[in-house]
Symmetry: C2
Subunit: 286 residues, 2 copies
């Protein structure tokens, strides 16, 4: 087995290789003067299982993944497994308006044209996986999140919106505390309004749990509202830290602790998902 | 028939639609705050031939093309034809070193998973099309180039390197003048050395013809060497104007005229290839 990391997942790829007991391939990369990407996989893959780890967060990430797949196939591996720690372009599982693409479908199709299966971590909308007949596996990491959160000794695990209620419930169950979801009113792409929950907050400790931190607007508003209503300590734990517009520092300045997983590699990626990923891969290849 | 233009080919797409007598679809585009692209095709395509015009020059171009294809397919057209005026990632038709991708193959595969056929203009390495069993058509535009160049009344059509000799010959034959290829020694990605040709240059007029202007290094060195050796007037005509590092102004300052085609839309795109493209499309759909 050989693990290949795209430039979006160099650290996570290494952790995955270690846990799989696999070798890691060196990858040569450069941009040509015209902006085109060059990649080269420097390890023979013949008759091996190749595990390619890389996000589809940016258009450049996606191109790198596709070129690495083409390169991998030219080395005739026995099987190609793609790990997409953060599956970008997966916010939409249907055509809300005629003429829209289901972007995740385009990306999944292109990748599965080369790969045998895809493993992703907590895809934003699980229904986006439906067209792929089980070839895309979504790895839930509630227990990984809970193991990390446990040390904070919180009274509440709180989801900033109703969509994250199941995750908050799962984490709270493992931590052994209460959970709830805030009422969020979305005003536009970046602005939301949070409604005060019916909960005893005075002197209590809570963690806000979410799947993606984008601009962090929701999280910031939620924490401010909770503290204003009596909460004594609040932290944030999320799976994917996009941290748009350098929002990481802003958020970390307004709560006691911020932690995200290493699906996207950031200075706040304290929650390691490599074990959750390799457990699932080992189920497939055993 | 409905023509859909990606943002790389808004003007050319319009010219193609006019010549095909097709309607053009409005396309809505925006970037979400997290950087992901949103597109929407606002015209019904049911039972129509959809013609999608867009480059694969940048990773963003490729993503837009792929999302537009996914959007188009959701509108159930009868057939999808993709025009790639500048087929980027096509400089390499084979794996020179083990572990390299054939990038054009990855791009062509992803597009042909949605499209019935691809038309591109003077792809850099025609051998890159071989794996596609005739589904990618390469449109040569020597006669379009010659018709444009004719007005310059040149004595010579000169290719800056041996690889472009056939093109220079074709253009010269139509213009009715002599042609030749310079001897080019490539030093690295951006540096080349040009050898003085065995040709009467004193008081003569010439056009340098090339397929791609990247940094323009080759063209600049060639024109300087030719003028130094007696040429009285020199212009440049190329198919694809990449003009890396704002080189267009530099080149246009050192020769009498610069013209490239509208495969890539630049201020120097004076050579219109829409007719050459639509002639070929009409052969397919008649």
């Amino acid at each position: 087995m050989i693990t290949i990391s795209s430039s979006s997942s160099l650290s996570l790829g290494k952790l995955i290789a270690e846990k799989l007991g696999s070798r890691s391939s060196e990858v040569a990369r450069k941009r040509f003067p015209d902006g085109e990407l060059y990649v080269r996989i420097d390890t023979d893959l013949a008759d091996e299982t190749a595990v390619l780890v890389g996000n589809t967060r940016t258009d450049q990430d996606f191109m790198e993944t596709l070129l690495l797949l083409e390169a991998a196939q030219g080395r005739h591996p026995d099987r190609i497994i793609v790990v997409i720690p953060y599956f970008g372009y997966a916010r939409q599982h249907m055509r809300y308006r005629a003429g829209e693409p289901i972007s995740s479908y385009a990306i999944g199709r292109a990748i599965l044209d080369y790969a045998d299966s895809i493993y992703c971590v907590e895809i934003h909308d699980e229904r986006a996986m439906a067209p792929f007949n089980g070839k895309i596996h979504n790895i839930k990491i509630s227990s990984t999140l809970a193991d990390f959160v446990a040390k904070w000794k919180v009274d509440y695990v709180i989801s900033p919106d109703d969509g994250g209620k199941d995750r908050a419930d799962s984490v709270a169950r493992i931590v052994g505390c209460e959970s709830m979801a805030l009422d969020k009113k979305r005003i536009d792409d970046t602005n939301v309004e949070i409604v005060n929950p019916d909960l005893e907050l005075k002197g209590k400790r809570a963690v806000l749990v979410d799947d993606i931190i984008s601009t962090g607007g929701t999280i910031m508003k939620a924490s401010q509202m909770l503290v204003k209503n009596g909460l004594s300590w609040v932290s944030v734990a999320a799976i994917h830290g996009l941290f748009i517009n350098q929002s990481a520092e802003k958020i970390s300045g307004s709560v006691s602790e911020v932690a995200v997983s290493n699906t996207i590699e950031t200075p706040y990626s304290k929650i390691d998902v490599s074990g959750a990923i390799t457990d699932r891969i080992q189920e497939e290849i055993k």
